[in-house]
Amino acid sequence: MADKKIRILIAKPGLDGHDRGAKVIARTLRDAGYEVIYTGLRQSPEQIVAAAISEDVNAIGISVLSGAHGYLFPRIIELLKEQNASDILLFGGGIIPDDDIPGLKEAGVAEIFTPGAPLADITNFLRSRYAS
C-alpha cells in the first residue's frame, strides 16, 4: 500500500544559464522512477534550501558550470545545517576541477559528477543511497 517515492530537487544555483545538464539529469531521474522537483535557473542557495524543505525532498542535485561551486555548495550545506535539515543529501555536477572535489566532499557534499560521467553513475548512486 505504501507508495514511498524518493523526491529530488534539481536546481541551477547562481547566474549561469546553461541548463542542458540539469535538464538531462531531471529527465533521467524521472525515467528511473524518481519524483523530480525542478526549480530552474538563477536560484540562490537560500531559495534552494527553502524549496527543498517545503517539498520535503530526500536530496538536492545542483549543476554549476560557472566556477562558483566553491561558494555555492558549501553555502547550501551550511543553510541545511542551520535549518536542521542535514539529512537532505546534496550532490552535484558541472565543470569542477578534480582538485576542488575533496574540499567539497569534506564540506558535506555527498557526490560530485564531472563532465562525461555516465548517467548510470548518478542513478546508481541514488539507488545505493535509497535502497529500501
Binding site: M1, A2, D3, K4, K5, R7, A26, R27, L29, R30, D31, A32, G33, Y34, E35, V36, I37, Y38, T39, G40, Q43, E46, Q47, A50, A51, I53, S54, E55, D56, Q83, N84, A85
Partner: protein
C-alpha cells in the same frame, strides 16, 4: 502499520508554529500512506474549516503559475498566509515525474507566510484527489488562511481535484487557437470566477466576450453568473481585482449557504471514500490476503464451485459478526 513511525501529533504542533519542515513531512506522509493510516484526519479535523480553498485551473500556456505567483503576493500584502499545492496530473508510466510549477513561483520560496508544495499523480488519480484533500487539511490546520490548488485543466482528473476546492478560478488566454474550445465544457461548469489572462494581447476582448456568451448560454450553469475578469499576470495588472472578486464570491457563497452545500457534498464523498478504505482494510483485506483465497480461486476456475455463491456466503458471515 510497521513502517509508520512518525509522531503526527508532534509534527502538527510544529507545523502550527510555522515549521515548514514539519508541514512537508506531514504531506509526504499522507502521500505515501494515504489518509486513513494513523487516523490522521481525526487528528486534523478539530483544526480545520478556516481556510478558503481556491482551485485554479486552465489550459496549458494560460499562465496559471505566473498568475498564482502574483495572486499570492497580493494576498500576502493584505496580511494573509497562503498555501499553494501545485498538482501535475501527467506522469508517465515509469512512476517518476518532473514537477516544474515552482519555477514561476521561486520568489515566494523565502516568504515566511507562504508554503508551496508540488504533487504528482503517482500513477493513481483517485489517490491524488484524496492526497490533495489531505494536504489542504494540513495547511488549513497549520493556519494558512487561503489554500490554492493549481492544476492544468485538461480532463476528468482535474475536475476531481477541483472538487476539493470551495470555489474554482478558471484561466484562459487569447490565442489558444479555437480559444473557447480550449476550455472544455466540464471545466467551464466548475468555474466560479473566470480570468482572461494576457489582456494586452490582441483578441483578449473578443475572448472575454465569447466566454461570457458561452457562460450565459450554458444550460448547466443554473442561477450562477460567474464574473469574467481581464488580467495580465506578467504586468501584474488587474490581479488585485481578481483576488478581491474571488473573496467577494466566497463571501456570497457563505451567506447563501452555497458554501455549506458544497462542503457538505465534499465531506459526504470523502467520508464515503474514507469508510470504504477502512472497511476494505479492516474487513476485506484479511479475506483477500489469506492463502485460502488463492486456493478458492483455483477451485472456482475448475468450475467445481460457484464463486458468487461463495462471495455471498462471506458477506453474510461478516454481517453476522457485526450483529
Amino acid at each position: 502499520m510497521p513502517h509508520n513511525t512518525v509522531d503526527f501529533q508532534e509534527l502538527l504542533v510544529r507545523g502550527q508554529s510555522g515549521d515548514k519542515r514539519a508541514i512537508g513531512r506531514m504531506i509526504s506522509h499522507i502521500e505515501t500512506y494515504g489518509l486513513t493510516e494513523n487516523l490522521i484526519m481525526r487528528q486534523l479535523w478539530a483544526h480545520t474549516g478556516h481556510a478558503v480553498i481556491v482551485g485554479i485551473t486552465g489550459a496549458p500556456g494560460a499562465g496559471k503559475s505566473t498568475l498564482t505567483d502574483k495572486m499570492v503576493k497580493y494576498w500576502i500584502s493584505k496580511g494573509y498566509r497562503v498555501g499553494v499545492i501545485a498538482v501535475d496530473p501527467s506522469s508517465p508510466f515509469t512512476g517518476g515525474a518532473i514537477l516544474g510549477d515552482r519555477v514561476r513561483m521561486n520568489d515566494l520560496a523565502l516568504i515566511k507566510e507562504v508554503y508551496i508544495r508540488s504533487m504528482s499523480t503517482r500513477g493513481q488519480l483517485g489517490g491524488l484527489s484524496l492526497a490533495c484533500s489531505g494536504a489542504v487539511s494540513i495547511l488549513d490546520a497549520c493556519g494558512y488562511d487561503i489554500v490554492l490548488i493549481e492544476t492544468v485543466g485538461v480532463g476528468q482528473s482535474e475536475v476531481a481535484i477541483m472538487n476539493v476546492a470551495d470555489l474554482v478560478l478558471v484561466i484562459t488566454v487569447p490565442g489558444l487557437g479555437d480559444e473557447i474550445q480550449a476550455i472544455k465544457a466540464g471545466v467551464l461548469e466548475i468555474g466560479d470566477v473566470f480570468a482572461v489572462n494576457k489582456k494586452d494581447l490582441p483578441g483578449a476582448d473578443r475572448t472575454s466576450r465569447e466566454l461570457q456568451m458561452m457562460l450565459d448560454m450554458n444550460p448547466n450553469m443554473g442561477e450562477r453568473q460567474p464574473p469574467v475578469l481581464m488580467v495580465s499576470a506578467e504586468k501584474n495588472d488587474g490581479v488585485g481585482d481578481l483576488c478581491d472578486s474571488i473573496m467577494e464570491n466566497y463571501g456570497c457563497m457563505k451567506e447563501s449557504d452555497e458554501l455549506l452545500t458544497r462542503r457538505n457534498r465534499r465531506l459526504r464523498e470523502e467520508l464515503l471514500a474514507y469508510m470504504q478504505d477502512r472497511v476494505y482494510r479492516r474487513v476485506l483485506a484479511p479475506v483477500i490476503e489469506a492463502d485460502s483465497f488463492d486456493d478458492n480461486i483455483n477451485g472456482f476456475l475448475s468450475h467445481s464451485r460457484n464463486p458468487y455463491a461463495w462471495a455471498e456466503e462471506i458477506v453474510s458471515q461478516i454481517e453476522e459478526k457485526i450483529k
